[in-house]
C-alpha cells in the first residue's frame, strides 16, 4: 500500500504532467518553451523511482529532489530540486505533518529557492507565488485554522501571486531579456508552483 507522502507526490506529479502543454505554452510566450516538458519529464521519472511504501516524509521528499535535480534541467531542476531537498530537511524523520510543520517547510523552501536562484519577491518568478502563499498560510496558522484551512489560504494567495506576475516585468530568468514585453504574461514557474500547492491541498482534502 502506497504511503501518504507518496500519494501526495503522485498527486503533484499528475497535475504537472496533465498541465505539461499549458506550462510549455506559457513559457513559449516569455521564455524558451520547455517548462512543462522538463517538469513532466522529472515527475514522470520521480513516480517511477520513489519507494511507494516509504512513510518517512523527509526521505521521500529528498528522493524527489534528487530525481528532479538530475532529470529536469534548465533553471527549474535546480530550483524545484533545492525546494524539495530543503523541505526534506525540515520534515526529516516525520510520518505526519502538523500545521506548524507546514509553516517550517514553506520557510525552508523559500530560503533554498532564494539562495539558489539569487532572486527576491517581485522579480516575476516562482517566489511571487510561494512567498505570499507562505504568509497567508502562516497567518491562518496563527489564527488557529486547521491544516485544510491553512492550505486554502495558501492556495488563494498563491493564485493571487500568479495573477500579480502578469503585472510586473521579469528581472530574473530568460523572461528578463524581454524587458517590458514580459508584462501581461503570467510566469510559468509561479504557475507550476501554484499547481504544486493546489495538488497538496487537493490531496489533504481527499484525506
Amino acid at each position: 500500500m502506497a504511503s501518504k507522502v507518496y500519494g501526495c507526490i503522485a498527486k503533484i506529479a499528475d497535475s504537472i504532467i496533465a498541465n505539461k502543454e499549458f506550462l510549455t505554452e506559457l513559457d513559449r510566450e516569455i521564455g524558451d518553451a520547455d517548462h512543462g516538458i522538463n517538469m513532466a519529464r522529472g515527475y514522470t521519472e520521480a513516480l517511477g523511482q520513489l519507494p511507494q511504501d516509504e512513510t518517512d516524509i523527509g526521505a521521500v521528499l529528498k528522493k524527489t529532489g534528487m530525481v528532479l535535480i538530475s532529470k529536469v534541467g534548465g533553471a527549474s531542476g535546480p530550483l524545484y530540486g533545492t525546494a524539495y531537498m530543503k523541505a526534506a530537511k525540515a520534515a526529516a524523520g516525520k510520518t505526519e505533518l502538523t500545521v506548524q510543520d507546514g509553516k517550517e517547510i514553506l520557510e525552508a523552501i523559500i530560503g533554498g529557492i532564494k539562495q539558489r536562484g539569487k532572486a527576491e519577491r517581485g522579480e516575476k518568478t516562482m517566489l511571487d507565488a510561494i512567498i505570499p502563499a507562505y504568509e497567508a498560510y502562516a497567518a491562518a496558522a496563527d489564527g488557529g485554522k486547521d491544516l485544510a484551512g491553512c492550505l486554502d489560504a495558501m492556495c488563494a494567495a498563491a493564485k493571487e501571486g500568479v495573477e500579480y506576475t502578469k503585472t510586473i516585468r521579469a528581472t530574473k530568468g530568460r523572461a528578463s531579456y524581454l524587458g517590458d514585453r514580459s508584462i501581461g504574461h503570467q510566469d510559468p514557474g509561479a504557475t507550476s508552483s501554484l499547481l504544486t500547492m493546489e495538488a497538496v491541498r487537493g490531496f489533504v482534502e481527499e484525506g
Binding site: 513559449r28 518553451a33 520547455d34 535535480i69 534541467g73 528581472t171 530568460r174 528578463s176 514585453r181
Partner: protein, 332 residues
C-alpha cells in the same frame, strides 16, 4: 512540423552517438552519460576545459572537444541546461589533478546547474573554477536583468582558453585568459525565421513574411524588436553598430570576426554579410586578424546570423592562432 528525426525522445541520444561515430579519433561518449570527451581522456597532464549547455546548438559543444579546445562537453535536452550530475560526470571523466575550468554561457539554468556540479566536485576535493560568457549586446546588462546572454562568442573562449591550457598553464592562468576573452568579445544576432524544438513541435515565435527579429537569442527567445526586413548590408549595419557602441573597438585595434549562421542560413548569405562587416571595420580602421564564417553556435533550424567581434592583444592572438584539431574547428 517536419523533422528528420526518429522520435522526439531520442534526439539528443542519437545526435551524440552519430557525432561520436563520425569522429572516433577525436571524441567518445562517456558511458551512461550525455558527456562527450576527448578519446582517451585523462592521459594528459593539463587543466581540463568543460563546457556544454542545451542541445540544438551543434556543432556546439561536442564539436569543439579535441586538442587545443575542450576536454569534454555536456549535452542537455534541446535548449535545456544539462543537469548537475551530468556536468559532474564530465569533470570526473577528464580531470587529472590540475583542476577543471567550466565555461558557462550566462543563462539562469546553466549557471545554477554548473555551479551545483562545481559544489559536488569540490566535495571530492577536485579544484573547479568557472567563467561565465555574456557576449550578447542585445540584452542590456543591468541589475534589472539576468544579464547578457552567452552566444557565439563562447567559441572564441573555447579556442583561446583551450590553447592556453594546452601549454600546461595552471588553472588560475587559464581562467584569467578566458576572462580576458570574455571582457573583449561581443556579439549580436538576428533571425529571419524561427526554430522549432522537436518536443514542442511548433515554432518558438512567429514572424510575418516581411519581418525579422533583431537581437534574437540562440534558444528562439524573442529579441529586442521586430522590423521590416531590409538588405543584408543594412542588417549588418544594425548589428555591428550596436557592437561598436560598446566602445571597446577603436581605430588601430586588431580584432577577430565571426559571422555565425543560426542553422538554416545559406553560407552564401553569411559571406554576403561578412563582406559588409569587413567594409565597416575597414572604414573604422579596425584591423581584422582572422575571420571565421560558418555555423558555429546554431539554434536548430533558425534562419539568421550573428556577428561577433573579439579585440585581440598579442597574448590572445597567439592563442587564437595556435593549433586546434577538433571535429568542428581546425587550426593548422
Amino acid at each position: 512540423m517536419k523533422k528528420l528525426i526518429n522520435g522526439v525522445d531520442n534526439v539528443v541520444d542519437e545526435m551524440l552517438n552519430g557525432m561520436t561515430a563520425a569522429f572516433p579519433q577525436y571524441i567518445e561518449r562517456v558511458q551512461g552519460t550525455d558527456v562527450v570527451a576527448r578519446t582517451g581522456a585523462k592521459k594528459t597532464d593539463k587543466v581540463v576545459l568543460i563546457s556544454g549547455g542545451g542541445s540544438g546548438h551543434e556543432p556546439a559543444h561536442g564539436g569543439y572537444v579535441g586538442r587545443g579546445m575542450l576536454d569534454a562537453a555536456v549535452a542537455g535536452a534541446v535548449f535545456t541546461s544539462p543537469t548537475p550530475d551530468q556536468v559532474y560526470e564530465a569533470i570526473k571523466a577528464t580531470e587529472c589533478g590540475k583542476g577543471a575550468l567550466l565555461i558557462i554561457k550566462n543563462y539562469t539554468g546553466d549557471v545554477m546547474n554548473f555551479e551545483m556540479a562545481a559544489d559536488m566536485a569540490a566535495d571530492e576535493d577536485i579544484v573547479v573554477e568557472k567563467v561565465i560568457v555574456a557576449d550578447d549586446v542585445a540584452v542590456e546588462n543591468s541589475t534589472w536583468t539576468t544579464g547578457r546572454r552567452g552566444i557565439a562568442g563562447t567559441v572564441f573562449v573555447h579556442k583561446i582558453a583551450g590553447a592556453c591550457a594546452e601549454t600546461g598553464a595552471e588553472l588560475a592562468e587559464v581562467k584569467c585568459v578566458a576572462e580576458k576573452v570574455i571582457a573583449n568579445v561581443r556579439s549580436m544576432g538576428m533571425s529571419v525565421s524561427p526554430c522549432t524544438v522537436p518536443a514542442v513541435g511548433k515554432p518558438s515565435f512567429e514572424l510575418a513574411e516581411d519581418e525579422v527579429e533583431i537581437g534574437i537569442g540562440i534558444h528562439g527567445e524573442p529579441g529586442t524588436h521586430r522590423e521590416k526586413i531590409s538588405s543584408a548590408a543594412a542588417t549588418v549595419d544594425t548589428l555591428v553598430g550596436k557592437i561598436l557602441d560598446e566602445g571597446i573597438y577603436g581605430e588601430g585595434d586588431e580584432v577577430a570576426v565571426m559571422v555565425n549562421g543560426m542553422g538554416a542560413t545559406p553560407l552564401s548569405e553569411l559571406f554576403i554579410a561578412n563582406l559588409r562587416v569587413k567594409e565597416i571595420l575597414d572604414e573604422k580602421k579596425i584591423r581584422i586578424a582572422k575571420t571565421e564564417v560558418g555555423n558555429f553556435m546554431t539554434s536548430l533550424d533558425m534562419a539568421g546570423f550573428s556577428v561577433t567581434l573579439l579585440k585581440l592583444d598579442d597574448e590572445l592572438k597567439g592563442f587564437l592562432n595556435a593549433p586546434a584539431d577538433t571535429p568542428a574547428f581546425k587550426q593548422v
